[in-house]
Every structure is written in structure tokens, then in C-alpha cells.
Symmetry: C3
Subunit: 216 residues, 3 copies
């Protein structure tokens, strides 16, 4: 018999995953509206931003077909986010602080769940952490490519570093045989917290300097 507690944990994780997909899809749809795409273009960008990270991870670890293809609900929440954004773009812009908050939560969630899935497929822990980071940032990278911009997540606000931090906690806990639930929560919280502080204080990693290192 499946324990009711286990069932509800799986349901909780799946629900959180769909929420993360929805929030990321909002960012994709917003990029589509900004570039005056038609409703289909907006829908494609919503799906891409919400799912490309996880789909790429699944292809790389051999989890085929990817979850976003097997389960129609990932497509459905992505298109829902696309429709909402298409119709109420201005209102969503006004809720930008909340969207950023949810985006930070989505990043933390994707980073830790992506790492867990890679570990479950027997990937080397060091690589698993990088795949967790990829799960978190992949959607944003492809979203920006499709509207012809250098991906912002490769440049801004500790985005990739926060994802890697969360993934690193999961891998560290895995190597030390700590309970996965605890490390998953800790990793997601760390990533979430890093993003919030980085956004609030405008923190960035120093960009590369093509002219060479400057002695301060």
C-alpha cells in the first residue's frame, strides 16, 4: 500500500513544479508580447520558457519522452500563462514584484528538482549539479534566443549562481547521505534567498573585462 503521506508529498512536488512552469511561462509570454508576436508566437515562447530547461535535462539524461511531453498539464499551464499574459499584459507588469518573487521560487524549485532527477538517473554528482542549474536557467536562455537577445541569465543578478548554489546543496547532501527532503528544502531556500537579496541590493558578479584585469 502506498503511504498517504508519500502520495501527498509527490502531489505537492508536482504541484510546485507546475507552479514553477507557470511562472517561467509568464516571463516567456511577456517577452513575446514585448516583441509583438501573434498569439501563437506568445504561446510558443511561454512553453519554451516554462519547459526548455527540463526538456533539455531529460534529453541529456535519457529520460525520454520528457515529462513536459508525457504529461499534458505542463503544456496546459504554459498556454494558460500565455493567454493570461496576452490579454492582461499591463496588469501583469504592475504585479512585477510578485512575479519576480515567484520567479525566484521557481528557480529554486527547478534547480533542486532537476538535480534530484539527474542523481536518480545515475549522473555523476558534479555534473548533476550543473544539470540542476541548466534546469533552472535553460528556459530563460532559449526564450531570449528566440527573441534575438543575448540571454540575460548569462549576465545578471546572480541568476545562474543562485541556481548552482541550490543544486550544490542537494549534491552535497547526497554525497553525505543526508535525508533528501531536508537538503531539497535547504537548497531551494538558499537559491530563493540569494535571488531575493541579489534583486533587492542589485548584486551582480563582476562582468568579464575584455581590456584585461584592472588592479584596484
Amino acid at each position: 500500500m502506498v503511504s498517504p503521506l508519500l502520495l501527498s508529498t509527490a502531489t505537492l512536488l508536482f504541484t510546485l513544479d507546475l507552479i514553477g512552469t507557470f511562472v517561467f511561462a509568464l516571463s516567456g509570454a511577456a517577452a513575446g508580447v514585448k516583441n509583438k508576436l501573434d498569439p501563437f508566437g506568445v504561446g510558443v515562447l511561454a512553453f519554451v520558457a516554462g519547459n526548455a530547461g527540463g526538456v533539455t535535462r531529460d534529453l541529456l539524461i535519457g529520460a525520454v519522452p520528457p515529462a513536459a511531453i508525457k504529461d499534458w498539464r505542463y503544456v496546459a499551464v504554459s498556454l494558460l500563462a500565455g493567454g493570461v499574459t496576452f490579454l492582461w499584459y499591463q496588469s501583469i507588469r504592475r504585479f512585477r514584484p510578485i512575479v519576480l518573487l515567484l520567479d525566484a521560487a521557481g528557480l529554486g524549485l527547478f534547480a533542486v528538482s532537476g538535480t534530484q532527477k539527474a542523481l536518480a538517473f545515475g549522473v555523476n554528482p558534479f555534473v548533476a549539479a550543473l544539470l540542476g542549474m541548466l534546469t533552472g536557467i535553460g528556459g530563460g536562455v532559449l526564450r531570449d534566443l528566440l527573441v534575438n537577445e543575448i540571454p540575460v541569465v548569462l549576465r545578471a543578478d546572480l541568476y545562474a549562481l543562485a541556481a548552482l548554489g541550490g543544486a550544490g546543496v542537494v549534491v552535497g547532501g547526497h554525497l553525505l547521505h543526508w535525508p533528501p527532503t531536508a537538503t531539497t528544502i535547504a537548497g531551494a531556500t538558499l537559491c530563493f534567498g540569494m535571488r531575493l537579496v541579489a534583486i533587492r541590493r542589485g548584486w551582480n558578479l563582476p562582468p568579464a573585462n575584455p581590456a584585461g584585469l584592472i588592479v584596484r
Copy 2:
């Protein structure tokens, strides 16, 4: 014994698929010539435009290696289209109405065959229709990305909607247990017709309006 009728149907479908690949490859090669790529760049763009949609679908549903890799004829017709375009670009431009007609036919064909293949691999019908659309528009998306443009199929002339319409007919017929041959032909015809009318009348979906909805 394989029935001769069945054989010829399979041969017909395969031939139509190669024709669709050839026509899409022409559009890729033309984009390469316009951007003054060398013969290899033109060849790569021809292959990408003709095959990226199907290859992506095959990777996503786990049909590995993809048909375009397993059967050398997909590569051959793509390179043929590349060579023809490289040598006779001006003449091909003059036949633009015919190329547009063939492109509409290719889109219809790819949309329904992509949907059928996804259904055959046990994908959820709702997602299968989207994979059919992806089969139709994927090549054009990657073609435009490679020459650094926002994919035109995300913006214009009911392109994605026509592909989805054709795919939807196939899925609808599948759910109602109608004969697949009839729904396949009906779906491809619908997609083809939508594109022709959209091109002739300049129909477009209304683009997203970043300034908010306008009350008319």
C-alpha cells in the same frame, strides 16, 4: 505477404515527405544565400529548414535515431535543394508563387504526418497535436535563428495556426476512431487551404499589443 496497395501507400507518403523536405530546404537555402553564406552554410541551412522540425519531434518522442539521420535520402534532397538555390537563386525567386504553394503543401503534410507519428508513439493526443505543429514550424524557427532573426513563423500569416488546425483534425479523428487515411487527407487539406487563403488575403492574427488592450 505485404499488400501491394499498402506498399504503394507507404511509398507515396515517403515520397510526399521527401518533397516537403525539399521545399522547406529551399526556404533555408534561400535564407543562406540572402545572408551571403558560403556553399556549406547554405547546405547547413537547407538541411536545418527541411529537417529540424521532424528531428526535434523524434528526439522528444524517443524515436532515435531520427528518420532524417537514419535515411540518407533526407540529407540528399536537402543538399540538392541547397545546390539548386545556390546556383539559381534569381530564377527560384521568380517562381516564388509556386514555392509558396509547395511550402503550404509541405506544411500541411508535415503537420499531419508529425501528429500521426506522435500518436503512434503513445503521446497524449493534446500534446500530439502540438508536436505535429512543431514538426511543421520547427525547421523555419531554427532557420531564422541561425541567420539571427526573430522566427517569422512566430508572427505571420496564420502559419502556426494552419499547422495546428491540420494536426487538430488528425487528433480529432483519432479520438473518434475515424479512418486515419481520411482524417490525414482532411487535415493536410485544411492546413494547405488556410495558408493559401491567408497568403492571398494577407490574413494575420492580431499581434500582441504591449500597450494593453485597445477598446474599439
Copy 3:
């Protein structure tokens, strides 16, 4: 018992592969620094440039998970190249002739090893040669896409042609049942030599001419 000679050949090939990855990763990291990405962006571009060709080939032939994911050393040398470039970009620019030399060697190596792997997975020889070329140029294509440029390898200095030449030698030898070691060395040398001569003499294939063929 595994022969010590065989072991050392495999070790040699693996070492050469890592060197090729390192050199290609340098080019990715340099593109990241030029575009003022943060350290993470530079690391991502280094990994992409060093591994995207091989990863794409592995996905297409069904060798999942790809070598670059299964073995952490590919990630490690990529990040090493990223770190070196981030810190000492100016010095690396001064060693440009050496980097170009190593890049030509990397291209030759990737083209022949990619072809061998595709043949080993039972891919049609004609397609295997194209997958060898893809292994060589894929990293550079995705690197340039990520920094929003039309991929230079689709335009310049016999790059793709040299890779295809090397791959063609391997396939030719395969069809004629020649010893693979000899054809592998010959193919890599041909590719390397073509690139060196093309760089030194500024050789290019004639670009496509959108205005039509000119009679000389």
C-alpha cells in the same frame, strides 16, 4: 586480458579529445568575455563551445547520456578553459596564433572521432560523414548563436569543408575496409592541413551571391 597497447591507444584518444574540448572551450569563453558576460556566462559558453557538437551528435545517434554528461572531465576541462580565459583574456589574445593552431587540430580530431562514433552506431556512411562535420562545427555554431551572431563557421575559411574532408577520409577508408587507425590519422591530418593553409592564405569558398551568378 586487455592489451596494454590497446589501453594506451584509448587513453591517447581520450586525452586528445579532452585537449580538443579545452581548445574549443577557450574560443567559447573568449566570446563570452568579449560580450562582457559574468563568470557564469563565460563558463556556460566555454562548455557549449567545447561540447555542443559532440552532445548533439550523441543525441542524434542515440548515445544517451552523451559522453560530455557521463564523464565529469569534459565539464572540468571546459570550466578550466573558462576560468583561464576570464582571468587572462589579454594574454590568450597574444597567443592567438597558437590558439588557432590548436583549434585546427581540435577540428580535425573532432571530425574524425565524431565520424568513427557515428559509424560504430550503425549510421549510414554518407550521414556519418555529415555527423563528423557536425561534431567539429556544432560547438562554434551554438557559441555564436548565444552571443547573437550569425555563426562564423557557416561563412569562413573552409572551416566546415575542412571538417567534412577529414570525415570523408574516414568514411572512404571504412567503405574500402582500410585499417581505421591509418584513415583516422590521415583524416585528421587532412582537416588540420586544410585549415592551416586556408588561414595562412585567407582562402574562402566564394559566398553566395544574392544578385545572381556573375559571368567572369
